[in-house]
């Protein structure tokens, strides 16, 4: 278990007056302080870690957020911003002395502008909610994390979330134009707008992926894109991870960038097939799902080119979807991967390192060896085009020793990712989970540089405490 620092005693002692102060700022239902009703906010997608906060506030406007922030700043109370709480790294984990600022009631779409291809939405709008609002006109919001039904744009901005299609469309950072944010002192700032590129420092770029460390985001201006004429998937299965990896390299080297290029290893294929009955080849060691876009003729053309490349690697099966339904079936297993693994083992840790794609076979081999020595099963799902690896480590939560082992196994995988030239996290963020591993990727000088940037926004270190940065300076 990762250690959390002790709460501030003086804040806990002032709990009643702090809650009363918050109640004066918000509507009746906007403040939660009863133990039972605080329970749902005690954890996020990393459910092994739990802590009931001091209070939860649910503001409905930027002004209310600003009032809460100014109040907490004056009172020296720590604040944990929260969207849907789907973070897999414990990014939204409360502390006992903290106030959770939940953005879920700020769920309105404020403006949609098709001519300028942007939309202004509040932080609590779900990821899918943006696409749903614009798809009638053939538009979509590109980043599509698997959690998109639940996760909110404010959370996406703070995690710089990716999705299956970021090989073509980029991650959250590449799809934003502006933000409205509240500083720790309660000042409202406008960053960017409906235009492209900042003239001064790139605050938009810095705040994206800042994991609630710098500001609270209340509004987001996103780019919306016109969708392609159509999309279609194919499936290619191979005898070994090496061969599948070489095939990925060959596709990219040919000049084709598919919109999605997903890799599953044998355990992942088996788990997903048992769950989704998608027709995955059970005799394969590795499988690729490849998706292309365009008119039907363009899809045919690209899928044929890709098939020709795949054939050079002696695939044990090659299946080109002939219809939208078949594409859906091919995706069904992949999209249900977490649920599928959940059926085999109710408890699993979803890791999230990135590696140079050329190192894939070696990394999968070494993860296999670790799996043997830890005696824990692992299934690997991989955004192959961009090197983002998701090993799902299965364990038994009823057995503390098993969880302990799973955490060590995960840490070993992440160290391996850094060792081969990659990083600790490609899209899930550092949060609590990887906080103490930051020294593997960054020198103390570099961590200090980042801490000074954090201090420039949050001099008292009140925002989202004990995440991202190894604890030491956090206590300051």
């Amino acid at each position: 278990m990762i250690a959390q620092p002790a709460p501030k005693r003086d804040v806990l002692a002032r709990r009643d007056s702090i809650v009363a102060g918050l109640r004066a700022l918000l509507p009746e239902t906007g403040v939660i302080a009863e133990a039972l009703r605080l329970k749902p906010y005690e954890t996020d997608g990393l459910s092994a870690y739990r802590q009931v906060p001091l209070a939860v506030v649910l503001p409905e406007t930027t002004e209310q957020v600003a009032a809460v922030m100014a109040f907490c700043h004056r009172e020296g109370v720590r604040v944990v911003p929260r969207g849907a709480g789907t973070s897999l790294s414990g990014g939204a984990l409360p502390m006992e002395d903290s106030v959770v600022v939940g953005l879920m009631r700020m769920n309105r779409i404020l403006d949609i502008d098709y001519a300028d291809r942007c939309a202004v939405v509040q932080a609590g709008v779900t990821n899918i909610g943006i696409t749903q609002a614009v798809q009638g006109r053939g538009f979509f919001y590109a980043p599509d994390p698997s959690s998109q039904l639940a996760c909110m744009i404010g959370g996406n901005v703070n995690m710089n979330s990716g999705g299956a299609h970021c090989l073509r469309y980029g991650v959250t950072a590449n799809n934003l134009l502006g933000l409205k944010v509240v500083t720790v002192e309660g000042e409202v700032l406008e960053i960017g707008g409906a235009h492209m590129d900042a003239a001064g420092y790139d605050w938009l770029g810095l705040l994206t992926g800042s994991e609630g460390q710098l500001v609270v985001v209340t509004e987001v201006t996103v780019r919306i894109l016109r969708g392609p004429e159509g999309a279609r998937a194919m499936l290619a299965a191979f005898d070994s991870n090496e061969i599948a990896g070489a095939c990925v390299d060959s596709i990219i080297a040919s000049g084709i960038i598919p919109v999605a290029l997903e890799f599953m290893d044998r355990p992942a294929i088996h788990a997903c097939e048992a769950f989704a009955h998608a027709g995955y080849p059970l005799d394969a060691e590795a499988m690729l799902i490849i998706e292309v876009e365009g008119s039907v003729a363009e899809q045919d053309d690209l899928l044929e080119k890709i098939s020709q490349i795949c054939r050079k690697f002696d695939p044990i099966s090659l299946k080109i979807s002939q219809s939208a339904e078949e594409s859906l079936a091919i995706w069904k297993g992949r999209k249900g991967a977490f649920g599928a693994v959940g059926r085999i083992s109710p408890d699993y840790l979803c890791m999230d390192g990135t590696i140079p794609t050329s190192r894939l076979p070696e990394v999968l081999r070494r993860i296999g060896e670790m799996s043997m020595s830890y005696n824990l099963q692992v299934a690997n799902i991989f955004h192959a085009g961009d090197g983002n690896l998701h090993p799902l480590i299965m364990f038994d939560a009823n057995d503390p020793a098993s969880f302990e082992k799973a955490e060590h196994f995960g840490a070993d995988i992440l160290r391996l990712c850094v060792e081969v030239g990659g990083c600790l996290t490609g899209e899930h963020g550092v949060g609590v989970e990887k906080r103490d591993l930051m020294g593997v990727q960054f020198s103390e000088t570099e961590l200090e540089q980042m801490r000074r940037v954090k201090s420039a926004f949050d001099p008292g270190w009140l925002l989202n405490p004990s995440k991202v940065f190894p604890l030491k300076a956090d206590a300051a």
Partner: protein
């Protein structure tokens, strides 16, 4: 110490900056100094150039990744990736015609975060910076990001340093994402449209499913300056499609039909497209104008209002890139003209950059928009977080910072 420092490696760079920090000596930080004519003039006793930190250290085409010293000439990077059928995604402009400087370095292009026509569809230079190594104003070497395409570990200092014009740290190495270059390009040209109509046509093109990767409009006088466009005789509105040859043929045909309401489109072939878009990218239609040049960034539909406002205020030459979202303006190098550009940008909710002007004007006016007080305070604190003594390019972006 001489007045011109050109460290041969990163360790020497760190040592020199560390010494300057200890002495409190301001440094003019540059690559090949090709962009010195931009933004505010820097008062510094010494010049620190990263040009000797040159060379491509890593290029892995199958991983879409290239890393090179900040001093590597951008043309060398472009040639290396072109040899493998790839390209630099953001299509960074070359302002040698506009500013009269020499060949730019990779570090300069990243530090200025300047992007060309493809920006409208594929993102800015900063979107493709996957990693940086740099020396901060204390002389400490730091890295951010890495050599992989997806990385959210820690604060994204890559984006902060891209576009910081050497005021926070001296870039020593940059890792870029690259992509396969298109097999073919084609450009649809609509003729004789007024600015509002042109921007509406470009919005339709960019809002089509055909992956338009460039969207510009040049009034007659500016089009006449571009050989590939002059023969069309009049204002031109351009929409580019880049992809495999078969896709380009199909999509440009479909787009042409979709845009029929805006007139019958001419078609530029691959070669003519390359010439035309290089001209748009480098602002060649304005390079021959005397006086000042501004880049104004606004929501695309506001481009025509900006053009109208500046044309009413002074004898302005202008054209649009980014579907109307980037308004290039040339006019007299006077404070009155500058104020008019700023007012037009502000009225449209956008930003400006004074890209070219005599030093006196650049020293006297806000070359980029001043920030609101609360944000300006953060700017000062972040500057101090990297460069506590203010020795790196002091005053380049904002007076006194």
């Amino acid at each position: 110490m001489t007045d011109r420092l050109e460290p041969a490696d990163e360790a020497a760079l760190a040592r020199l900056v560390g010494e300057a920090h200890a002495e409190g000596t301001p440094l003019l930080v540059c690559g090949n100094a090709s962009k010195l004519g931009m933004l505010r003039p820097v008062q510094a006793a010494r010049t620190l150039s990263a040009r000797a930190l040159s060379g491509i250290g890593l290029y892995s085409p199958a991983e879409l990744i290239l890393a090179a010293g900040a001093g590597t000439p951008l043309a060398e990077v472009a040639a290396a990736v072109a040899a493998k059928g790839q390209h630099i995604i953001a299509e960074p402009p070359d302002f040698s015609a506009l500013l009269g400087g020499g060949a730019q370095t990779l570090g300069g292009a990243v530090a200025a975060n300047l992007s060309g026509p493809r920006r409208v569809a594929w993102g800015a230079m900063r979107d493709h910076v996957m990693g940086v190594r740099a020396v901060n104003g204390i002389g400490e070497t730091i890295h951010s990001g890495g050599r992989v395409l997806k990385n959210v570990t820690g604060l994204d200092l890559c984006k902060l340093l891209a576009g910081s014009h050497g005021t926070l740290a001296v870039l020593s190495e940059i890792t870029l994402k690259v992509l396969p270059a298109p097999e073919r390009r084609a450009t649809l040209v609509l003729r004789g449209l007024a600015p509002e109509r042109a921007v509406a046509a470009l919005a339709a093109a960019l809002g089509s499913p055909y992956a338009v990767s460039g969207a510009a409009h040049l009034p007659a006088a500016q089009a006449a300056r571009v050989p590939a466009l002059a023969w069309l005789g009049g204002a031109v509105t351009l929409a580019r499609i880049e992809d495999f040859a078969s896709s380009v043929a199909y999509r440009s045909g479909r787009l042409r039909a979709d845009l029929a309401a805006f007139g019958a489109a001419e078609m530029l072939d691959d070669a003519a497209s390359q010439v035309a878009w290089a001209a748009v990218r480098d602002a060649l239609p304005l390079a021959a104008e005397a006086g000042a040049v501004w880049r104004v960034s606004v929501r695309p539909s506001a481009g025509p209002a900006v053009a109208r406002a500046v044309a009413e205020a002074f004898d302005a030459a202008w054209f649009f890139d980014w579907g109307g979202g980037l308004v290039w303006v040339a006019g007299p190098a006077t404070e009155a003209a500058h104020d008019a550009v700023c007012a037009a940008a502000r009225a449209a909710g956008g930003t400006w950059m004074l890209l070219r002007a005599p030093e006196a004007l650049r020293a006297a006016v806000a070359v980029i928009p001043p920030e609101a007080p609360a944000l300006a305070a953060i700017t000062r604190r972040v500057k101090a977080a990297f460069d506590p003594k203010g020795i790196l390019n002091p005053g380049r972006m904002f007076a006194g910072i």
